[in-house]
Structures are given as structure tokens and as C-alpha cells.
């Protein structure tokens, strides 16, 4: 008999949530985590950036309260204080994960783990056995071989920038994805002169183009350079070819490399164990099964979606199939990638779920509608009439099913789960119109968009 029911390699969102679900079901679980519990999300991703952004948002609110009748003098921020808040938040949440696992009697081993084969994992040099193994090794910032970036102290990845001890006067960001945009917004709000260089013609290529454009225009104090190919970095200067083919340069003090993240598929025995993987991730089916029997993979390492909440879902799916495969199938425990929402916590915030208009048009006839968020009374009361905000809805013209909801503006990340529910249950636009939204809320923008679709 194996020592454990399940060994999980990696204590990030995918790993620790799977451990929680499995332990709740009475399974004996070991989690191997060589660094800190919570993974990228809790330590160097979602949570620290949100902690820092909150400071920046408070600072901006304090600076611009006059239109609401609130003035303050001597408004200032202290970067070390903002950093201290980040550390306090992260420590509290990491501690919480540890407490939760301890309470559930999950064995947490702070060691490097190597997959030997199905049911066998070497943890800290000791072979441990289990009926199932879940791979949840996560991802790491991608560092493309751009000349002048290697061993250049001015070039940092997101982890490095989170730990920076000062606000750079000038920040150049290579890559206009979620990570680049959030950091650009953060440091611009704190007074940095920020430039973003993006290879594509628009930032955040996963977003609906209209929303991405509105987001780009809505972020104050950031120069976006689109359609530009970075050719090298000299000191803290970014050299690139602009959309017209001309050579350009941006002089900065710090350069953030934010071209994305890559699944961590090496360094833990995948190849030696015969696991099927590619640079894009460990191959899994929609139940998170790999090619090896009873070896599962969840989260960023699969490359299916590099979002913490997608990792949560994948961890739950793997756990459900380990606990009771037949029940899990009946309950629809499969990964539905099309209904995973995304969120960006810049100023303004944005969130969305489902197909963009371009994606939907590639599949068939669609109806769309966009409405400004100033249709929401609460939005106007709290932001005024000029603040950026919109909701766009994408509907299948034939079946009238809602295919996508894309939102820019305050509370969008808090609201979007409702749209995810609409997509999961395949509601039509007519169904959605019957749903009652609380008033006044920003979420009413979704209802307005539903009614704005021309029949």
C-alpha cells in the first residue's frame, strides 16, 4: 500500500486547493513545495501586485478627491510603507494556507520534488509513494534572448520589480499584456514616467479589441508604443523598431521584461518519467490527466490557462476525479476553457469572459452591443461622466446565446463572475434580460448591454 493517496508537487493555487479538497474527502495528502506556499499568485503575482496597486489607488483618490468635495493637503506616499503593506498581506495569506493545510493534516514538505514515475516521487532525496501524483509546478517569467538583457541589472522580471526598493523615475515595460499593463499603471500612478513597448497592434491581445483600446486610452500617464519589435537593451534603454520600420529608443532607469510566463516543465523529472510535455506545457485532457496513469497536472504547468483561478478549477477537477471518477464525470468535472474569466487590476480595471467579437465572428454570425458605464448611476456618482468605462456583449445571432461579456471600469473584476455563470448555463440574451440586477450598481452595465443588442 502506498504511503499517501496523493502526492502534489507544488504548493501554489492549483496544488494547495487540490490538497484541500482531497484532504476534506479524507485522502492522505503530501504537498512538496520547495519555496513558499501559495505559489506565484500569493508570493510574486496576484496578491502582491494588488497590495501595491491598492496603495497607488488610494494615493490617486486622495489626490483627486476635490471633485467629490474632499480635499487633502500634504498627500504623499511612502514606497517602503506600500511595500511593507504588501509583505504583511502576503505573509498573512501564506500563513493562512499553511494553517489550513495543517488543520486538514496535509503533510507539507519544504523540499524539491522529482517525479520518478506513476506513484513515485522523490521528495528531498527520499522516495515517497502514492496512488496518485498531481503536478502543479507552475510557471516562470519568460525571458526571451533579447540582446543586452542577460545579466543586465537594469532589466528585471515581474518578481524583481515587485521587490524594487524605490519607484523608478522612468520605467520601460517590454510587453503590453496583463503583467505589463498592471505594473505600468501602478508606477505611472506613483509618478514614474512609464513607456510600454508592445509587439502586437493592441495591448492585451486576449481582450476584445474595443475593450483593449478603451483600456489603453483610459490608463493615465503611460506612453504605449504598439506594433514595435524590441531589438535590444543598452543599459536601461530599450531599442526597438517602430510600426513604420524606424529605429527608436526609450531611455529609462528600469526595464521590466513582461512578455509573458512559460510553464515550468523542466527540472522535476518530466522527461525521465516519460511524461508527455512540450515547451507549451504538460499535455493534459479536459480532466487534467496526463499520459501517465494516475499522474495529473494542474495550473500554469499545463499551459491551458495561466491564471490562478483556472489553476483552482483544474485542482478541483483533478481532485474530484481522484475522489470518485464516475461521480466526477456525472457532475461535469471537466475544464471549460471558454468560460474562464480574466481580470486586469489597472486603473481603470477590466474583466471579461468568453469569446471576443473577433473570435466569435470567426465561428459564425454574431450580434454585439457596447454601452458606456455612465449608464450606471453608481458609476457616475463615484467616477463622474468622463471616467473610462464600458460593457460589450457578444451574442450568437442564430441561437441568441451569450458568447462573451467584456467590461472596463470600476468593480469589473468583482462583477464578471455573473457573466461567467451566464456563459456556463448557456443563457440567451433574452434570458439575461430577465435577470434582476441590484440598483444602483456598476453591474447594471451588463443588463444595459443586453438590452442594447439590436434584435
Amino acid at each position: 500500500m502506498a504511503e499517501f493517496d496523493v502526492i502534489i508537487i507544488g504548493g501554489g493555487p492549483g496544488g494547495y486547493l487540490a490538497a484541500e479538497r482531497l484532504a476534506h474527502a479524507g485522502k492522505r495528502v503530501l504537498v512538496a513545495e520547495k519555496e513558499s506556499l501559495g505559489g506565484t499568485c500569493l508570493n510574486v503575482g496576484c496578491i502582491p501586485t494588488k497590495s501595491l496597486l491598492h496603495g497607488a489607488k488610494l494615493y490617486q483618490h486622495a489626490l483627486h478627491g476635490a471633485q467629490f468635495g474632499v480635499t487633502a493637503s500634504g498627500v504623499a506616499f511612502d514606497w517602503s510603507g506600500i511595500q511593507a503593506w504588501k509583505t504583511k498581506t502576503v505573509d498573512a495569506l501564506v500563513g493562512g494556507v499553511g494553517m489550513m493545510l495543517k488543520r486538514l493534516k496535509v503533510e507539507v514538505v519544504r523540499e524539491h520534488a522529482t517525479l520518478i514515475g506513476p506513484g513515485v516521487v522523490e521528495v528531498g532525496g527520499v522516495r515517497r509513494t502514492a496512488d496518485h501524483v498531481i503536478i502543479a509546478t507552475g510557471s516562470t517569467p519568460a525571458m526571451p534572448p533579447i540582446p543586452g538583457t542577460r545579466d543586465n541589472p537594469a532589466v528585471v522580471d515581474s518578481t524583481g520589480l515587485l521587490a524594487i526598493d524605490h519607484v523608478p523615475d522612468r520605467l520601460a515595460v517590454i510587453g503590453g499584456g496583463v503583467i505589463g499593463v498592471e505594473f505600468a499603471s501602478l508606477f505611472a500612478a506613483l509618478g514614474s514616467k512609464v513607456s510600454v513597448v508592445e509587439m502586437m497592434d493592441e495591448i492585451c491581445p486576449f481582450m476584445d479589441a474595443d475593450v483593449a483600446k478603451a483600456l489603453r486610452r483610459g490608463i493615465a500617464g503611460v506612453d504605449f508604443h504598439l506594433g514595435c519589435r524590441v531589438s535590444g537593451v543598452e543599459g536601461a534603454s530599450v531599442l526597438y523598431t517602430d510600426a513604420a520600420g524606424a529605429d527608436q529608443r526609450i531611455d529609462a532607469d528600469t526595464v521590466l521584461m513582461a512578455v509573458g510566463r512559460r510553464p515550468l516543465v523542466e527540472g522535476w523529472g518530466a522527461r525521465e518519467a516519460g511524461l508527455d510535455y512540450a515547451p507549451g506545457g504538460v499535455r493534459v485532457d479536459d480532466r487534467m490527466r496526463t499520459n501517465l496513469p494516475n499522474v495529473w497536472a494542474v495550473g500554469d504547468v499545463t499551459g491551458r490557462s495561466l491564471l490562478a483561478h483556472a489553476a483552482y478549477r483544474m485542482g478541483e477537477i483533478a481532485a474530484a476525479h481522484i475522489i470518485d471518477p464516475a461521480a466526477a464525470v456525472r457532475a461535469g468535472q471537466v475544464l471549460r476553457v471558454d468560460t474562464i474569466p480574466w481580470a486586469v487590476y489597472s486603473m481603470p480595471e477590466a474583466a471579461g469572459v468568453g469569446l471576443t467579437e473577433a473570435q466569435a465572428r470567426a465561428r459564425g454570425e454574431v450580434l454585439t452591443a457596447s454601452v458606456p458605464l455612465v449608464l450606471s448611476g453608481r458609476f457616475v456618482a463615484e467616477n463622474g461622466l468622463k471616467a473610462p468605462g464600458m460593457v460589450k456583449i457578444v451574442v450568437d445571432a442564430a441561437t441568441r446565446r451569450v458568447l462573451g461579456v467584456h467590461m472596463l471600469g470600476t468593480y469589473a473584476p468583482e462583477t464578471i463572475w455573473g457573466a461567467a455563470g451566464v456563459l456556463e448555463t448557456e443563457l440567451t440574451i433574452d434570458d439575461l434580460r430577465q435577470v434582476v440586477f441590484p440598483h444602483p450598481t456598476v453591474s447594471e452595465g451588463i443588463r444595459e448591454a443586453a438590452w442594447a443588442v439590436r434584435d
Binding site: 516519460g274 496526463t290 499520459n291 471518477p325 464516475a326 464525470v329 461535469g332 441561437t399 448557456e426 440567451t428
Partner: protein, 453 residues
Amino acid sequence: MAQIIVMPALGNTVESCLVSSWQVAVGDTIDAGTIVAEIETDKAAMDLPAGVAGTVLALLAGEGDEVPVKSPFLIVGAPGEDISALLAEAGAAPADDAPADAPAVPAAPAAPTTTQPDAAASAPSQPSDASASPRAKALASRERLPLSAVEAGTGPHGRVIERDVAAALAAGPRTTAATRGQDAAGVQGTGLGGRVTAADLAAPVPLATLVEPGRPSAAFPGAYSDAPLKGIRKIVAERMMNALATSAQLTYNSSAAASALLALRARFKGSDADLGFAGITIGDLISYATVRTLKGHTGLNAHLLDGTLRTFDGVHLGLAVDTPRGLLVPTIRNADAMTLRQLSAATKELAAACISGKIDPDLLSGATFTISNLGSFGIESFTPIINVPQTGILGVDTIFPRAVIAKDGSVGAEQRLGLSLTADHQVVDGADAARFLRDLTKALEDIDLVVMG
């Protein structure tokens, strides 16, 4: 004396009953036990006995009508009796004003029969629309459930009643809003909570393939290596897929008697080296014959591009060459203007350049027809893939002895050369391809004469 029968009160909470069907017609003689109608409340369906004897004079409700409790719904009396007064009364009178002497229908006989299906109902048949009660139909319609999805009715005579529909709804597969009412039986849902989604209906996954516990062992046999496609391999891969995706290829197999080819090759081989014939191979002879034959079959010596067929007078002959770096297809330009010796020399030169990697890239394109020779590997027949935009490719197979019946009827063996021609049916019909092969076969069988041309 004629009297009005009112809808009995079948329970404290029943306010009205639905007349599912009449079991009697005007003029029928009935006694107290005769079932006059099948009725349905929101809880049950039942047969309703008359309670009085006489002749049915009028039915005051239609099938499917809701009749409030204690309201008139039937007039019974003597045949021919004048009931106009009663009809007026029934039409005008509210339920409470029903004649006091109207006998209340005994409640006891009206006990629901639903739990005691009679013989007819004990063998449930697939209910049809007609055998469903209006309430059942209404519920099914509201819930978008096809009545055919209700397996058996539990009402009188196997009739589908409301609760059958409700049970079918409860037992049926859960669906999303978009798939509600569609036939989702036997489909395993992959949506929220296992709901059947639109995608599941479009491409149903059989339940059996989903419920096998755990994963069938798909482990690799030990270590493996991945090699991303690049260089020539990547180009070949793309061209092949493009060719298959953009043309209507099919292959025609034939064979030619090889005796003349073999004899001539033997003759060349044994000839004085100074004459320049010694190195000429069977492949060279086939190339030469093919180039000659193409002159009369321009549809195969052509490019098909953007809906236009461009046929060529001359021939640039492509030759597939196996190199250490993969397949290369150098082009012998103006092959139709060459003598056999020139063609042979050019072939050797180009093949050597390909194998050594020194081929001029310009010579890797522009062919108007291609030959791929796998004869030396003993291949008996294959389906070469056209190098688009060309319209044909000749596959050369091995020469091996085949049984033949001679003209005198004797059975013998003959060395024959296999030919596999792939042509693009967009522009080359089967008969065209066959004619080309027939002419090529003739040229090969008379190769000793053809080379004199």
C-alpha cells in the same frame, strides 16, 4: 326529469377539474356507474362515474376545458326531453346556484385509478401526442420537453398525465438554457454540474468512454526525444499538407514490359565508356521517355494556379532526390531539348549537388512535371503527392517478374516496370491520365526506338 350534473369536489383544495376526455356522447344511455369522463386535477387523473341513470342530453364542457368544482358539466334526463331551461340555467347560473336537488356525484367511486392501471394500461405503449392530457401537454410545452421523451403514461388507459411529464423532467438529463427541450438522452454533459451543453449535442461523447475510471495506460515506452520541425523538413511538411489540401489527387497504377529497357541498359553498360552511354541508367531512360510523352499530354505538363490552367510547350522536369537533409526536388530545365546523354548527365549533376548540399536554390523550383523513383527500394506501387501547382507526378516502381499469358495461351513470366501516376482530377480526367500512361507504357516498351528520336 332532466338534471344538471355538477363537477364534484374531489378534495378540499381542488378548485377545478380538467375534462381530459368525454367517455360518453349525447344520446348515450348511462347508469350511475357509467364512466362519463376522464378528468384531471392538479394532483391526479381519474375516471368520473355519472352517479345517476338516464340518457346523456348535453355535454356542457369541451375536452380540455377547466370546469370549476360544483359547476354544471353534464345534463342527464329522458330521451327527447326539453332541456332549454336547464341549458339557460347552466349557462347563466354561478356554481353555487346549481339546483339543490342535483345529486352530488359520489366521491368514493371517483377514487383515482392511477395506481390501478387496467389491462390496457399495463402494457404501456409509447405515448403519442394524442394520448396525453391537456395538462401534460401544457407542461411539456412549457418546459420544451418532447412528449416522446415521456416513457409511459400512468393515467387511465396508459394516458400521459401531468405528473408523468413532471417525472420525465426530473429524471431527464440536466441541460443548460440553450439545450433545454432538445433530445439529450444518453449524452453525458460536460457543462456546469454535468449539464448537457450545446457543444455536447453537436458532438456527443458516449457515456461509456467518459466513465472509465482512471486513465488507460498511455505511458510512453521509456525515454523519448522531441525534434521541432525546421528547415527542409518543415517546408516539406507544409508543402505536402498544402498539396493535399488544395488539389484533387488520385493515383493510377499501370505497368510496362521492361525487356526493352533492361536490354538497352545492358547494352549501354557494356558499351565503350568514350561513347558516353555507359552511365545511363534505367531511371534516365524513364525520364527521357516521360519527357517525350508529356509533349502530347499538356494537361499534365502544367500549373494550376488561381483557377487558371497554364500548359507548357517545354518541360522542366523535377526529380525527387533523397538527401541526408530530406527530400529535395531539383529541376532539369528544358529537359525536352536534351539528348538522352545530356539528360543523364544533368540528372547526375543535380543529384550530386543536392546530396552534397550545394544545390543552387533556383534549381529547386519551377518544374512543370515531377518524377519520384522508388524502384531501387523494391516499391511495387505507391501514391506520390503532387508538387503543386503542378498537375501530375509520376511514381516509378520496381521492375519485377510478373506472370503473363502469352498470345499462344502459354503462361510465363515477364519483367515489368510499375508506374504510379498521380494526377490532379481538377484538370486531368481519369481517361486523360490513362491515355498518358498508355502512351508512356508504349514509349518504354519501344524505348530502343524512342531514343533514336
